[in-house]
Symmetry: C2
Amino acid sequence: MKNTQVTLDKRPDGKPKASDFAVVTSDVPTLNPGEALIENLYVSLDAGFRNWMDEGSGDNVLPAMPLGKPVMGLILGKIIESKNPAYNEGALIMARLAWEQFSILTADDWHVVLEDDGEHPLSYHLGVLGDTGMSAYFGLNDIGKPQPGETVLVSASGGAVGSIAGQIAKLKGARTIGFAGNDDKCRRLETELGYDVGVNYQDENVADRLAEVAPNGIDVYFDNVGGPLLEVVLDQINEGARIPFCGAVATYGDQAATPGPSNLFQIVSKWATLQGFMTHTKLDRYPEAREQLSAWLKSGDIRAIEHMYEGVENCGVAFADLFAGQNFGKTVVKV
Amino acid sequence: MKNTQVTLDKRPDGKPKASDFAVVTSDVPTLNPGEALIENLYVSLDAGFRNWMDEGSGDNVLPAMPLGKPVMGLILGKIIESKNPAYNEGALIMARLAWEQFSILTADDWHVVLEDDGEHPLSYHLGVLGDTGMSAYFGLNDIGKPQPGETVLVSASGGAVGSIAGQIAKLKGARTIGFAGNDDKCRRLETELGYDVGVNYQDENVADRLAEVAPNGIDVYFDNVGGPLLEVVLDQINEGARIPFCGAVATYGDQAATPGPSNLFQIVSKWATLQGFMTHTKLDRYPEAREQLSAWLKSGDIRAIEHMYEGVENCGVAFADLFAGQNFGKTVVKV
């Protein structure tokens, strides 16, 4: 058995390119006591992992990724061999493993055993029923708190988190506006995700367009990107606005520091809240959130859109596409 | 009777200067039906009023101040003549009147009747028992929520709001660090306001100095100024940090937009909260806050420091001093 792997070949300069990664083949590793062999089924592609690709980028969450090694990522896989009594062969797990066909799960590795009830596609556990769905759910419910009739704006609105956040906001009775990077995506926001309006932030005068489609101002801005769009939005927030701040993909891998919004004073004058959040601080509430999202999926109140690639060798391409705005929905690679 | 007034002579270019204001003398106005004549006793000087001194600066709170007219300000005064049955001669009021000895209170003017119990100096009702005390109280309690042992950092820490916020944080068991603009103020922070450390943000390498005096990071940053200091602090906040965002004096009257913090992503990665607030949204809780602050004043747990000027003609000087960092405590002009 051979193991196809995708390694970090070069440290990305700004946005990752497919050529920053290399596809290599190695032998499937043999197990030491305490370890299990995982057959990886799905790889979740998440922009946040870009943070650990720079030299010296390690932090208290994760170490920097080494060059020449398989790229670290969130994986859904199956235990196919175990030398650890706690790891049951045949069990499904999610773990922080690597872009490869087979991985070793050591005794110390963080992992979650997946109780699959067969009600949803397996890959949903990496998206709508996983961390990105949780981000949408907690960010919107705990921070955004949209009220019926309010206007909710979402950036990266067709992305893994945004696509769910927008739909939940709509369920809560809000008017929903989504930012996306091209007209096709804007159309899909409206036809597939129930957004009232999709706004193309690339082609248009965003400030004018926003004022036009949100004449009563923005009550909630679910922000997945940060950067210059945040400045535009801050000028149009209402008093008491809430800004769940979920990510800043606009500035990931930004070598030269990008100036922040020059109008941050709007946070004071509109007595608004800009609040970051990390789903790992809410693990105790995952079951509640997952149950609700599962129910909405079954009732058809929300839909999960996946941007699926086939073949582990395409992980690098898929990751680069994510930063090039080529994705719509949750990006997953089927190994 | 003559009325000494201080008018807006020129629209300030950036920070206000004393020469932007003119002292004039006029006749004391006569009353129309429904009006009262107010003898102004104290003028509160608040940086926020700078916002309405620019051409075209009017908003839904207040209109832009006209040139050549007495400058609008928060006043504590006494009704000395009334042609309105609702206005009792001899009553003390606070109202948004002007930098002058005598003002007219019309039937429609917002005002508060002051029930003075004689327990505190009258002028405290413009400071520690007024809006600035309320800002400190609500910002710290509702947003900052300092826990015993946490580190609370305050900017403009010797100012009207900061001087109270720092003392409340200390009462809550936090370690308190204050930013101030010169060594003398830093010393006063420590000797008069109970701060553990005063940090001079003008003379020193603030980032290094902060790391030195707050080796465990910042849990609460009570920010009264915004601007470049916020960027420095964001690099040193702890997970779950709270930033009550009270004002942005650093950028008031800033004609060229100052770039915001380039590291706003810290709000995400530290799941921190940056929250603006306006005391007028909490009017129903003023009695609770005022009672607590009054009790602390009487017990000596906090002290109110006033930066007092004598003579209404000094309002312009006092206002300019506020922006030149010449104040310590609440700036009040005794008319």
